[in-house]
Subunit: 187 residues, 4 copies
Amino acid sequence: MDMSSKDPVAPPLEVSKWFNTEAPVSLAELRGRVVAIEAFQMLCPGCVSHGLPQAQRVVDTFGSDVTVLGLHTVFEHHDAMTPVSLEAFLHEYRIGFPIGVDAHDRPGGTPITMSRYQLRGTPSLVLIDRAGRVRLNGFGHIDDLTVGATLARLIDEAPPKPPATACDPDQGCPLPTDTIPTKETHR
Amino acid sequence: MDMSSKDPVAPPLEVSKWFNTEAPVSLAELRGRVVAIEAFQMLCPGCVSHGLPQAQRVVDTFGSDVTVLGLHTVFEHHDAMTPVSLEAFLHEYRIGFPIGVDAHDRPGGTPITMSRYQLRGTPSLVLIDRAGRVRLNGFGHIDDLTVGATLARLIDEAPPKPPATACDPDQGCPLPTDTIPTKETHR
Amino acid sequence: MDMSSKDPVAPPLEVSKWFNTEAPVSLAELRGRVVAIEAFQMLCPGCVSHGLPQAQRVVDTFGSDVTVLGLHTVFEHHDAMTPVSLEAFLHEYRIGFPIGVDAHDRPGGTPITMSRYQLRGTPSLVLIDRAGRVRLNGFGHIDDLTVGATLARLIDEAPPKPPATACDPDQGCPLPTDTIPTKETHR
Amino acid sequence: MDMSSKDPVAPPLEVSKWFNTEAPVSLAELRGRVVAIEAFQMLCPGCVSHGLPQAQRVVDTFGSDVTVLGLHTVFEHHDAMTPVSLEAFLHEYRIGFPIGVDAHDRPGGTPITMSRYQLRGTPSLVLIDRAGRVRLNGFGHIDDLTVGATLARLIDEAPPKPPATACDPDQGCPLPTDTIPTKETHR
């Protein structure tokens, strides 16, 4: 398994509120790290019995090799699964890894990040490689052997090289591509 | 095991809102029936993994021989476990027996019915006999063999006799209330 | 539920070897007691995962109110489930209640007691009342609520009355048989 | 994780009887493949409830990427866990991968392969890489995330290069390095 241009780039998280972290978490800042996102709803039975315990096992087993995030992707019972309720849920179930509340662009309906990742429901597990590409996007029950195998492969991959700043003796040194302003001028 | 005056009379339920029932449930009206009350909080992990599934198994096994009620005894995270959240919880976990929200006489703190029954926490299971006395009041995990045995004994007990008709030396002996004809003459 | 003449009398056990008991166990000597027989084969997965653990839970929950017996009813793989193998099995699985090896009247085939009770396979649970009648004869997974309820009812039944002593007008009244002293004089 | 000379070479299996395979299995012939050996005793409860089901999950999840073998390492109750009993056990528990009976060099005691691998008991899981080195040798419960991660790494390692037989037109063809006698002479 290796990074391939056909693996989609992980879209940014759109989070309205974070728990269990002092600062908001950004996937861009996690570039270079392996990231596991557990998308869940606090009143989804399969998330409570399977998805969230598995995410906790990933924390316990892989430690700092994997950054585990929870994403509260409320697409039903919006009034029931508010941030206030979620906070109590995280306390009672002793969930300590960072949890983001997926933002909505309109009341009700599917939250923004959930749409961007085209998740099919909850629980869903998304694994992102060091280069920021989605390498697994699974819905429902995914067994631990498969999750463990996939994470090991992502952990063992080399981090992406920083973009080369190819200096042309005649033209000079361009800024890296992703910071080039719209109207670039070589200098 | 038999009904004894040392078994406490089950105090009345103080419920602010009912789910899964058209009319409020009253223990007085259930006199003559065996009643199981599962006291829970929707965000209590032991209630979700053990207490409520056991209550459902009692419904499935004993059918109409036992009246199973849930009592949402919120004594913490009050803003998180509102009736709105509870309703979604009941829907997602497919709980179909009547559920009452234990009322509070002041914001926060222990709800009224929970105090009356001196419950030690959630989940708690209360079994009430046909005479309206509490025969089991257990906190935490109570195994199915014990619950099944206790319920069988309560089911097999004869319903309490109607109260003896009090004969007044001056007035004579009235018929028992529930057999008084429409046009009663005795007083 | 009460003892009825339509409940079959429990046939005697035909056991070739006993474990976990100094003396052979006889149902006749257990008359007056509630008896649970767990029929199993040591290489039957459902017996190992469900039947035998349930029998142990009955021991733990009901103590001296129920006599729990195991019956090793080998009807297949006869050379694999010998008494020598069974003894090691009982040791490794820490089974401490009496276990009888169901006898065969011919090599292979269904053992004698299993045939007498018309068991459908393993695991099977047989519950016998104080009067020596079979009150439950179930094959496969029987839930703990049902087993607990049934046992409570059998425990609560009165032991059968001793047979009335037939007084002969000419001879007088003999003592009941089982209290007759060695040198009896009445007749 | 990479192959290292400090990982011990997997000693050969000493098997007295094979099940579920037409021909005896030799680790030498499996060189180049990832091998998982589940060491168990058929009457060991932890093997039945955890070790063997995990081995089956490895078969189901990794398919032809991992060769799963069972090794019946009887070190107690020798008369109870004979090949005849084992065969029935494998049938009843529907275990289909190859199973070898670890051989004894004397009656009773620890079997030969178990000693060679210095296993601490049953269940034990041994993972061997493509170069024939032991990369994991664990006793008891090893979680699926860890097993999945380790197997993925072993699967992804390149197979060892075949020994170069670099024939020099002028010098001739040397023996492969590991078979060169102490005093080698080119021919």
